[in-house]
Symmetry: C2
Subunit: 688 residues, 2 copies
């Protein structure tokens, strides 16, 4: 039985709780569309969610008050249900700019609900807050707080949440058999995803205890202020109900499943507390976090804060009984996860020196053009289609050929510029091979061969991500993911392309990793297909480039240009200067023995150097791979340029290895195996 | 000291309470701009308000949720304060379509407030409702209801009102020295304006007692249902606090003045009940209305209605003490005024057989093209510029020359087609005259004369209104008003142009009335300048039209074409058939003696007949005026047509009467005097 996955629209899905919920949704077999106006969040979280979940997550940068924009989402996706996080959420700010809070939160919700009505979407999980209760200590017997506690929010933020709860109740009452609404009243979410990839990224000074402490720990803030230690609690500090954000996210899955199992002819509008039921004092949380990060954070006790009360702990029994949900993680778990997130991302999703634009497709976050190292003298730009290296700029001079838009990369005329070649690079003669006793036939795109995977080529697929990190000021890494489904090739594979840029060393490293996600075996040979020209800033050809090929062995070819299976020596090729009448290469140089499937066990070995006297730029290519295809540009290979305008050095496995017994093991990938390789492009400026 | 009038934006100003408040605002020296989406009201109320107040009321047909539309209003007018009525208001409907209520009422208010913030408008009077209290009888001691009574609305309508009150409170709290908000909680508004021109015009079945009874009285509904007579009241029916809508409107003026007198550096956000403090039972109101209309209306007592409670009477002392406002009219007054409104307008603002479109200027309600008698065989169309007769259609045949847009009427090439000529029609030689010993000099627009008032001509001014009424199925009247300020002519005058259309008799009557509103004396001579052509449907000239001019006396002209002051006989003009070579007329025929200023004391007297053998249409013109200018169209008088395409018969006072002692009294208008005249165009179909 093919299970039809349901589409869930997650509003505010780029935010803290939203992003964690997206992970849980995908793990629970839902498909997610995210809409977020990014006013207080970053698209980076979505890119990371894609890498983390290896799943495409359609994203709309739309404000919910934009009726047309919201309608377009429902037109494009058959939204089954909505989890509605989108909303401004800073209590203090809400008292300063209440109109903005009311408009954003309430109008946004009204537009969302009206659009749901128009498109027949009936289920919604609403992100409410324990703030709707206001000061529950005003009653003698309402701690822990049950859902029956009278509501009386004390700030505009809380009022918008309550107003939306009432709108949902009124809408449900107007058509009680139709609407299914789950109202989730959160207590205090803390922590981050265990992967360290997503977490809370507050802009400005954090309002909440944990993010504030995290910033103290990484020295962004001086010390923690504790607002009052004269409350009637265990240690004199107020008691709150802290809940791990992943537990909270799972509460959404529980409530969505609860709505899913209600019959078609029945509606509901009901509120559930999402809390642990266990209160912790400020000092208890402080100690747990100090333990997690191993630092005794400085703190200062100051006076009580207006509006604070002793104890706001949830009574979570309704959620347990009805949703079968309870918290499973402790404050200590949350502190550990928060610390992992904080140390890995001390500035949250903000990475310095990264310029992120849409690659000529405004609003289409799948077509980003990301540049790292801007202003450093070593800049690299990438786009998602083909996980392509669009530009590499050394001291103000571009040294690779690039195109101006995603559309040009997708055009038939693109000779694989800068792109990732896969699942199987280079030629498979006759387009066929035998795998586990079965002949696999691929479409031919040359006279007698399948080149660069033909129909299923990676270079026209959009990779997920990237995950961009900047572990120190000189280094960036971008990790792209592709899930390449079984098609002409057998088996689903998951491939990651990780670019490492060191702006100080002026190196670009590309690392490939792949494994089978479905199926028992496939073939794999990955490479990057950049065309280099070290004097391109003068728009000149390769003329005068000095090449050294650090090998004199090449694959022997028969009269049809097909490898015979032998390795032979080539004379006089090891060192030459490019001239218009000079030799033409489209040749596979051998630099190592038959390789393992994962060549990263090898050392990086220099295989080619090139330098140009006019630019003074020298390139050294180092790789773990056993061979490289050297191609110096024949006639007509490149629109708008003559021959010999750029050269390629494509490190990889031997050509046609799939069909040659001695070479085959290097390209056959079995279930459980990991394919891998690494290549570094190192640039130097040499005296002229 | 020139008092600078303040502009007040009235949202929902076309509605019941809004329209009554506009009258009071104007009477209290405010200038009003109205914005209304007309979803539950009619522009007719605005046209009538213009006639009633003799004041231009800029109108914007804009929904408050339309940010751009609202901003345009604030860009065009320096709005000093806002009275915010706009909102959906049917309690029952609000439970059926809550989203629409929340979106319209709350989002509309948020857009309004945000726009006020942007444009620096700080004062707002908000139309709230006693509905915010919910069932005040749930407390032991809250009847009469004070403003301190806890709020707890029981339906989405009431919740939207309360939510807006809270938004205002939060906004005020965010900038307490800036915002000035008056929240007015209405009890039960009833009645109508004493003029009978404006009142409540509920669409569908009225929800409220009085409008329902009014419809029973005019037989639109069968009988009144009384919901329960077993309450613990004087007569067993529930008690409510009814308040005359004009009293209520005045409460807005009182609160606006209260806000106006608060200093610049001080804000406020405060609620006031607007009620009488006196409760009336349903049966007491029933009896009062029966007395007012003189009919014992049928009624039936049925069961109690869900949600009804015994007594909801206001405690109005806060408004009395702070706003110095109290109700001054009784339920009996309200019933009488309602009855006047109902009998004058049994279908409210809806008039059958009237087609109302914008005259090629979409959205500009000042440029309406109103057609009455559509489908009756006698249709007349009018527009506000010049209070112009645009078309007159007899049995499917247009008999007057018209233009296709307001712009064409305003163009220099327009030879006064169908328009009202004033303040002084026809020629004043040398453009000058002496009034009260002072020489008045006008701009000349002919070689030696001022024709049709030259620069200050009515034909380029937009008249106010019209008031359209349909007293019986055969008759329509349209009343236009113009306030023509002192300019070249001395003194402000108020002129009304009333068109009467009888579709059965096929008559169009135009009646002029004018008086001085400021100044001690001026001159006046008004006429209509339609060009008739009884065979125009064949696009032919006047050829073959048979004319009878029922006078052989004309004004004698000197050699310069200027009246000598003598009346002479003209031979052979009384009866002729128009031919291309026939006589040309631009001649003043005398049909009566020197006239009084108001010729309506005279009988209508036929002065001209014309008929055409091909169309079979005969026109008889009857007038109370002492003369008429007959003009049969010289060369070039009319773009796109040859000479002799149409003829004019302009009843009026003697040419140049201002400068001839014997004739002057007929055109000199003194303070307190009324200028008047009446002319009827009667059509018949004669056998061919």
């Amino acid at each position: 039985m093919a299970l039809q996955l349901k589409w869930v629209l997650v509003t505010g899905g780029a935010g803290y709780i939203g992003s964690h919920t997206v992970v849980e949704l995908i793990e629970n077999g839902y498909k997610c569309v995210v809409v977020d106006n990014l006013c207080n969040s970053s698209y980076e979280s979505i890119a990371r969610l894609q890498v983390l979940t290896k799943t495409e997550i359609p994203f709309f940068n739309v404000d919910l008050t934009d009726e047309e924009g919201v309608a377009k989402i429902f037109q494009q996706y058959p939204i089954d249900s909505v989890i509605h996080f989108a909303g401004l959420k800073a209590v203090g700010e809400s008292a300063t700019i209440p109109l903005k809070y009311y408009h954003n939160n309430i109008t946004g919700t009204l537009v969302l609900l009206e659009t749901m009505r128009k498109f027949g979407t009936k289920k919604l999980v609403f992100s409410s807050s324990a703030t709707v209760y206001g000061d529950a200590t005003r009653f003698p017997d309402m701690i822990p707080i049950p859902e029956e506690c009278p509501t009386q929010p004390t700030n505009p933020y809380g009022k918008t949440k309550l107003a939306i709860e009432e709108i949902l109740a009124d809408l449900h009452a107007s058509e009680p058999e139709k609407w299914k609404f789950a109202v989730l009243r959160y207590f205090n979410p803390i922590g981050a995803h265990a992967s360290g990839l997503i977490g809370e990224d507050p802009l400005g000074i954090p309002n909440n205890l944990l993010p504030y402490m995290a910033q103290v720990a990484v020295k962004r803030r001086e010390k923690l202020f504790v607002f009052g230690n004269d409350y009637d609690s265990r240690d004199g500090t107020p008691i709150r109900d802290y809940i791990h954000v992943v537990d909270l996210a799972r509460g959404h899955i529980a409530s969505l499943k609860y709505l899913d199992q209600i019959g078609d002819k029945q509606g509901i509008c009901r509120a559930w507390n999402l809390g642990s039921g266990t209160g912790s004092t400020v000092m208890e949380v402080y100690k747990a976090f100090c333990l997690a990060c191993g630092i005794d954070l400085q703190f200062e006790v100051v006076g009580r804060r207006a509006g604070d009360v002793l104890n706001l702990t949830a009574k979570p029994t309704r959620a347990l009984e009805e949703l079968k949900w309870r918290t499973e993680m402790s404050v200590a778990d949350a502190c550990e996860d928060l610390w992992k997130w904080t140390t890995g991302n001390p500035f949250g999703y903000q990475v310095m020196g990264v310029v992120d634009t849409m690659f000529n497709k405004p609003g289409d976050f799948g077509s980003r053009l990301i540049t790292v190292g801007r202003g450093s003298g070593f800049e690299a730009s990438f786009t998602n289609v083909g996980a392509t290296l669009v530009d590499l700029n050394v001291n103000g001079k571009s040294v690779v050929i690039g195109l101006a838009s995603e559309a040009e990369y997708l055009d038939e005329s693109n000779p694989y510029l800068g792109t990732t070649i896969g699942r199987y690079a280079n030629r498979i003669y006759d387009g066929s091979f035998t795998l586990e006793g079965t002949k696999v036939q691929l479409a031919l795109n040359e006279k007698n061969a399948t080149l660069h995977s033909s129909l299923q080529s990676f270079h026209k697929q959009r990779f997920l991500g990237p995950l961009v990190v900047n572990p120190n000021k000189n280094e960036y890494t971008l990790k792209y993911i592709l899930v390449d489904r079984e098609g002409q090739f057998p088996g689903d594979v998951v491939v990651s392309v990780t670019y490492g840029i060191n702006i100080k060393l002026q190196t670009l490293t590309v690392e490939y990793e792949g494994h089978l996600a479905k199926g028992s075996a496939t073939v794999m040979n990955l490479t990057n297909h950049s065309y280099f020209n070290l004097n391109m800033f003068q728009n000149s050809s390769l003329n005068d480039t000095e090449f050294k090929l650090l090998s004199d062995k090449v694959l022997e070819m028969d009269s049809n240009g097909k490898p015979t299976g032998k390795i032979v020596s080539l004379e006089n090729a090891s060192k030459f200067i490019s001239t218009p009448s000079g030799p033409h290469f489209d040749t596979c140089f051998v630099t190592g023995a038959e390789a393992p499937v994962d060549t990263r066990v090898n050392d990086l070995k220099p295989v080619l150097t090139a330098q140009h006297p006019l630019s003074g730029i020298k390139l050294t290519i180092l790789t773990t791979e056993p061979s490289f295809q050297f191609y110096n540009g024949g006639p007509g290979y490149l629109k708008n340029h003559g021959e010999r305008f750029g050269f390629c050095c494509e490190p990889g496995r031997f050509i046609n290895a799939v069909n040659i017994n001695e070479w085959r093991d290097a390209v056959f990938l079995k279930k459980g195996e990991v394919y891998g390789s690494r290549t570094t492009y190192k640039f130097e400026t040499v005296s002229l």
